[in-house]
């Protein structure tokens, strides 16, 4: 899991990032990448999508600015897709 060197390296960060991306950016819960898959790691791809939406630097990593944004109180409707 790509972790920015300055980010906290504990389970809480990973859990925050994954639940945020599952709740609001349609990250599939079984998002384990296939070992031989050429595709970008789905978490990295979703992180970039979230960073782009919020006007953050698109690093694909949970850098401090991205984590700070994820901790802000917000609406429960996803930022992409439908809400039915």
């Amino acid at each position: 899991f790509p972790v920015a060197p300055e980010a906290e390296d504990d389970g809480k960060t990973i859990q925050l990032v994954e639940s945020y991306l599952e709740n609001f950016y349609n990250l599939q819960r079984n998002h384990r990448p296939h070992l031989r898959s050429r595709d970008e790691n789905p978490v990295v791809a979703k992180l970039k999508e979230m960073q782009e939406f919020f006007g953050l630097q698109v690093t694909g990593k949970p850098d401090p600015d991205t984590l700070k944004m994820m901790k802000k109180p917000r609406c429960g409707v996803p930022d992409i897709g439908q809400y039915m």
Partner: protein, 365 residues
């Protein structure tokens, strides 16, 4: 827009408040709902009628954790509420997390602001990436009495339901863009090595060590301050900034407004003929603060806490052709005067203008 462009087939919609939070008076909840609905009815042909004891298009309720809609709430903070796009049954419904500290002011989470946002979803809007938009996903407080629906949200909802039937079409504030060449400022001050540029209800914050500029609502730092700050300066010695609007001024230390403020500007020694201050800056090395009003300026002695004698004087007499001053600040020995889209760099030692730039030169555009 929500994918599939869901919308109500009728303009005359109904709503019902299913339950109330014990944290607010019922009348205040009713008022918050009514006001939130009017945010959208004011700019579209939509109307909302309150119903009791029967199914409504928009059912509003406070819910706790798992409330059987596949989207459980997460306790205090985090997710505050959610709403469903137009449609039958749960379509259009608004659910508010009962565990949030709902209020009608700047404490906790303002119910009106959150409801207005969720009702945008109930009407078919999705989230906007404009940080100043009501439909931006993150919560941000705005004084409900000062609330104006931003243009980004007006554009969105009118693209779905059409324009308002009002003779005069409503318009809303736009979000300042740091690299907009037409950007002008209401006030500017330094603060602990950073520079804060005030514009409407926003402030652009520039840290010398960071390339990008941060945009925030003034209310994020100081919820009790009004928008539209007109002048500001930093008293470095006291680690305070002073902010001016109309005939009042506030003293702020860190996140706190010093008790007893706002006070009338006349306490500083202005005559009653002065109704507002356009700009101000303070010279840390001399302890003198300069206030600019129309084509004149006053000089205030921070130690004596009184205006110096012999003022006001004409700006042009001592600062040259800088015109009216919208905003000013001092940094590294130079004073920067902002007038519309132009910025003048003034050298107080040489007593002359030594540079002329665009107003946005600080933002690395």
């Amino acid at each position: 827009f929500t994918p599939g462009n869901p919308k109500w087939k009728r303009n005359n919609l109904t709503y019902r408040i299913l339950n109330y939070t014990p944290k607010m008076r019922q009348a205040d909840v009713d008022e918050a709902v009514r006001k939130a609905l009017s945010v959208w009815s004011n700019v579209t042909p939509l109307t909302f009628q309150k119903v009791e004891d029967k199914e409504a298009d928009i059912m509003i309720s406070f819910a706790y954790r798992d409330h059987r809609d596949n989207s459980p709430f997460d306790g205090p903070n985090g997710q505050l509420a959610h709403a469903f796009q137009p449609g039958d049954n749960i379509g259009g419904d608004v659910h508010l997390d009962e565990e949030e500290a709902w209020t009608k002011d700047g404490r906790g989470y303002n119910l009106f602001i959150v409801l207005a946002h969720e009702l945008g979803h109930s009407l078919g809007l999705s989230h906007s990436d404009d940080p100043g938009a009501l439909m931006f996903p993150n919560y941000s407080y705005t004084d409900p009495n000062e609330f104006l629906l931003p243009q980004d949200d007006i554009n969105g909802i009118q693209a779905i339901y059409g324009r308002s039937n009002a003779a005069v079409q409503p318009t809303g504030p736009t979000t300042p863009q740091a690299c907009d060449p037409n950007l002008t400022f209401d006030a500017i001050t330094t603060l602990r090595g950073e520079i804060f540029f005030f514009k409407g209800r926003y402030m652009l914050r520039k840290h010398p060590a960071r390339a990008e500029t941060e945009l925030n609502f003034i209310s994020l730092f100081w919820p009790k301050l009004p928008s539209g700050i007109q002048a500001a300066y930093e008293n470095v010695e006291r680690d305070e900034i002073l902010l001016f609007k109309e005939d009042k001024y506030w003293v702020v230390r860190g996140y706190d407004i010093v008790p007893g403020y706002p006070k009338p500007i006349y306490r500083l020694g202005f005559p009653k003929t002065v109704k507002r201050v356009n700009a101000a800056y303070s010279d840390e090395s001399t302890g003198k603060t300069y206030f600019f009003v129309a084509d004149r300026y006053w000089r205030y002695d921070e130690k004596k806490k009184s205006m110096d004698r012999g003022y006001p004087r004409k700006i042009i007499a001592d600062f040259g052709r800088i015109g009216r001053v919208d905003a000013a600040f001092q940094k590294d020995g130079y004073v920067y005067f902002f007038h519309e889209r132009t910025q003048y760099q003034f050298d107080p030692r040489a007593k002359r203008i030594v540079g002329k730039m665009n107003s946005i030169s600080w933002f690395n555009c």
